[in-house]
């Protein structure tokens, strides 16, 4: 084992990757909430949330050590705001840096904030295929936070609403 890395014993079951250009974003809040909720339904290991904003790049990509965190996960949540009608370039950069079939056998969950109703399908049209391309199984509905829902429920309220439905999806997640 490399002296400069952690023991492989830490294996988060749920990892969320957040690609929002702003720190402390609502995307981060939603992703952390749902990741934490799913993780506690799956066991005791806390989820790990990788907030990509401000993480340094190496040869144009994120640190390969971050990929290690994804490798052990059962569930990978890819979270982004809508940017130019699609998901963010920041998230794309992370996904591009993953090895081929990095998400094989894992459940991928797209999560996006849609400013306008016409962006509600961006998660299904753009983000879901990217996760499928990496080998993920996307057996749950995409999590789309409409601006109107965020305004009425708040981020916490929306997470709770999602988690109330999550029992059904979790039954589809391979152990």
């Amino acid at each position: 084992m490399n002296e400069n890395t952690l023991h492989p014993g830490f294996a988060p079951s749920v990892v969320a990757i957040v690609g929002n250009q702003r720190p402390d974003s609502r995307t981060l809040k939603l992703a952390s909430g749902i990741a934490d909720g799913l993780a506690s339904q799956l066991g005791d290991t806390p989820a790990v949330v990788i907030d990509l904003v401000n993480l340094p790049l190496q040869n144009g990509y994120f640190s390969p050590e971050l990929n290690e965190l994804v490798r052990t996960a059962q569930v990978v949540i890819a979270a982004s705001p809508t940017v130019m009608g699609s998901y963010s370039g920041l998230l794309k950069l992370f996904l591009d840096g993953l090895p081929e079939a990095a998400l094989l056998g894992k459940t991928g969950i797209p999560l996006m904030i849609a400013r306008q109703a016409r962006h509600a399908l961006a998660a299904d049209v753009h983000l879901r295929p990217a996760l499928l391309e990496l080998g993920a199984t996307c057996s749950t509905p995409s999590l789309v936070a409409l601006e109107s829902e965020l305004a009425s429920l708040g981020a916490d309220g929306l997470v709770i609403a999602w988690l109330e439905r999550s029992g059904t999806w979790l039954s589809g997640i391979p152990a």
């Binding site: 014993g9 830490f10 988060p12 506690s40 806390p46 907030d51 340094p56 640190s63």
Partner: protein
Amino acid sequence: MPDLTSILAGAANRLPPGAAILGWRDEDGGSVTATAGSFTVLSADPPLIAVGVRSSPDVRILDGIGAFTVEFHEGASGHFECVVENVVSAADHDLLIGRVLAVDLPEQPERRPLLFNRSDSSRLVGHLPSQVPLVEPSARSRLAVRQEVPPEPLATIAVIGGGASGTLTAVQLLRRSAPGLRVVLIERSGKFGPGVAYGTEEEQHSLNVPVGQMIALPDRPYDFLEWVRREAPDTQPQEYLARSTFGRYLVDLLERTIGEADGIFFERLTGEAVAVEPGEAGAPVTVRLKDGTEVEADRVVLALGNGRPSPVPGLDPGLVESDRYVADPWGDEALEPALADESVLLIGTGLTMVDVAISLGGAGGPEIQAVSRHGLLPRAHVDTMPVRGRPVALPDDRCSLTELTSRLLTEIAVAGARGEDWRIAFDSLRPITNDLWSALDPRDRKRFVTDLGRIWGVHRHRMAPRVALRLERLKVNRRLRVRAASIERAALDGDRIAVELAMSNADVGERLVVDRVINCTGPTWDPRRSDQDLVRDLLSRGTIRPDGLGIGFDVDRDGALIDSEADASDRLFAIGPLRNGVLLETTAVPEIGQQAELLADLLLAGLVRVLGSSRELSAA
């Protein structure tokens, strides 16, 4: 030989407000120098200097390293050898306050002092903390106002347990109390000071913290280093010494403090406390010893040290009852018989196992198998000075277990990509661990203990480098085998022991035949599982209750015992590992030293009407 105070006063007279060159070793052992634009002698007693340096990551790293020199004369002589006392951030500069350990003054006072000059400074080579003989530290500060010593004690504090936590509590009471206090230190072994942890005679049993960070007295952080340097002047702050050295230091510290504590009545009492009777409110507490002795005290501190390991599931009762099973490797000569064995099984792979494997791993010792669910060994310290970075997380409103693990793991991944050490990110949390821990909600604390405790432990509680090396040698020579497995069943089989293992990573079992099974799962403090008469007595009276996680005694922020009615006691307190469920870090000397200081102040404040105010400690 003039003392340090007068040398320093003389030096201050010769110094214009001028420049200085700082020198220290970085974490890779390379030399680093920095120019200080201002330099002044801050205080002669205690000997403190201050230098102003431009803020840089180097200075923050220096804060963690501890030792540096200040060169104030041109040429390679004339310098102070210092340890960092404090770093104060002042706009774009940091004010570095150093405690002077040694002074090297040039022979000719006419030699030109260093004045700030950019072009000149480049050719100067800073001194490195080195072999400069240590000047005898100034004598401990005396009472500011000598009070009359009463003929009889005015109040009594009993400390149960004379190991590290009990001894440090007694030391702080002796240092801080006004005359008239009686301190009774009760220890069943009759050895006052080292306790089990630092009583090991084995030279191979190393401290897991470098000498510069073994801070027993928070107001004198380098007391241990200075004490070691009296015998071994070359000792560096980053060295790992034998645990017995710290044990001897504790004995000496207690002796010294008793000698200096005028007007305090100090008693050592050898015997096992078996009951504590709180009695009516306002009346004294009675501590009863096994031999019938009774001590009446106004306050009682439980300093019971580490608990015994928990029982291991899967062991046949016949084996557990036999002498082939060692329930507690720290018991007196518990490991003696195993030295003659052919093979032994150690249950647990943490620091306790490491100590036991090293004790048994000498020439002619048994073949050692070690198992735990994860099969993870503690990580090793790196053989350089420790570095402290900016904390990766703070105990704010976002402090959840998910947030903390995410921040820590992301930071470590990024550090790894930069070729930096994960230990820096990990250790950045050390000073605030207990704050983070108390900011977590109870559900997160429980999740941490069930799931992350082990993985946290192996990274956080590391082995000294030479211990790691020895362990590696045992593994390479096939004397030690470590596996991830749990014990399905272990029972006596003829004159040996048959063990069935369930491997953690595979759906298969394995059979072993060994001569002895040793419980190395490490200390715990669930009072319900204790076999100590005293703990049973306290539990049956409802004086104590387990904490929410069942790994220690329930206490409040000050260490006051919380009883079965959820009320915090005003007379009974706990220190050290007993506080384990309420604090995450409470077993290492720096934390216990801090607790002892705070607890002593709290106890003395409670007795102020009887004793008068505490003595001033001018060596702040």
